[in-house]
Amino acid sequence: MQRIINFILSYRNAFLYGFLMVISLVLTIRSHSYHQSRFFNSSKWVSGNIYGTAANISAYFGLQEENQRLVEENEELRRLLFNNATPTNPILPDSISTTYEVISANVIKNSFSSPRNYLTIDKGKNHGTATDMGVITTKGILGIVENTSNKFSTVQSVLNTKSNINAKIKNTNHFGSLKWDVGDYNVVQLVDIPRLVPLVVGDTIVTGAMSSIFPENIPIGVIKKYDLDNSRSFYHIDVELFNDMSNIKNVYLIINKNKEEIQELEARTQNE
């Protein structure tokens, strides 16, 4: 017994190291396999407020650029309004007024250089956000809300190896999944598009109708290059994003009012 205690005492640092390592590894692996931790993420009060203050200060340096972007969007929306009969560039689908509601928010923390990127935004449960809401910018999709606190939310970026979004080629109904292979932060991958689909470099990719998170036809990006995958029957497409992921300030959250109904119906159908 004495020897065992002596042994443990003489290696106590190694044991402590092992113990701390195991804790960290468990947390890491859990965050890989499922959602990020519910208790330790940057939507919490302390980190949210610190990021909020910092974003408040740094926002002044980008005001001009941001104003320019908002003016451009207003222009576009006014054009749509005045030419209501023939919207040449339907950024927002017609059904949005009835089915979808939009909340605006500011990004207070952004990251795009790690394999699993998250953003933090300054709207939380108090403003009506919830897990699995879609987040878009004026140019295209950004990600999906993952955790919320009272005043802040974290968003799983499309630049996240766990991200998987339904997407299709514009004006067709060939859909696939949008993923990211940890390469370039402006390029994501569209997989599972069958070989028989005719593709052209420069084709626009938009969100598909298969998910209850995003409305259909929200722009994502354009085809940069494509080739066949290992099975030779599906395409592996590199999509260049419309968004500049390194420079994002104003975002919109999309609330689908019919989502619960859709999910309930689907769950009931699968159970039968």
């Binding site: 106590r12 402590l16 890491t28 931790s37 330790f40 610190i50 923390k109 990251s111």
Partner: protein, 168 residues
């Protein structure tokens, strides 16, 4: 003792804030975010309780994880660096670092730079291996380790000469 505690506590808070507010948003060349908080391990008192040092390192890593949504990646890297630090010190400064009257002032610049360089290197290798977590992206890990490592080393060297601690 109390002033050492105070200085290290202040360093801890300031390094966390500097890291998450400035260096995590740097994105130099699109992907280089130097992990400057490694300098905490360089500045930490030499003659100290090893267990306490590892716990502090874990807490430091954890705080940065908490802010950057990379749960436990920074913790793993920090704890590993804290655990290996005595070995690196023996390698850089020889056996005499264990003596009572050892201090950074009677070491050469090259020795200190090697010490800092090894701390940064080990930290980067552990961090990026666990971040990417697949050997198929070996080249990506290598690229990130070297690019970020060099920038981190330069900034840490500047920091250490800028805020050189008088008390140690």
């Amino acid at each position: 003792m109390n002033s050492a505690l105070f200085i290290n506590g202040l360093r801890f808070v300031l390094l966390v804030l500097t890291q998450v507010l400035i260096f995590n948003t740097l994105n130099f060349l699109g992907f280089i975010n130097p992990l400057v908080y490694v300098i905490f391990f360089y500045w930490y008192p030499i003659k100290s309780n090893r267990a306490l040092f590892m716990l502090t390192a874990f807490l430091l890593g954890f705080m940065i994880d908490f802010f950057s949504d990379t749960l436990a990646l920074h913790s793993i890297a920090s704890v590993t660096v804290a655990y290996i630090r005595p070995v690196i010190m023996r390698f850089c400064f020889g056996v005499n670092y264990e003596f009572q009257n050892f201090s950074f002032r009677n070491t050469t610049k090259i020795q200190r730079l090697t010490f800092l360089g090894l701390l940064v290197l080990i930290h980067q290798v552990v961090f990026f291996s666990f971040e990417v977590m697949s050997l198929s992206h070996f080249l990506l890990i290598l690229k990130k380790v070297f690019a970020t490592g060099i920038v981190t080393l330069i900034i840490c060297a500047l920091f250490s000469s800028l805020f050189s601690p008088q008390s140690e």
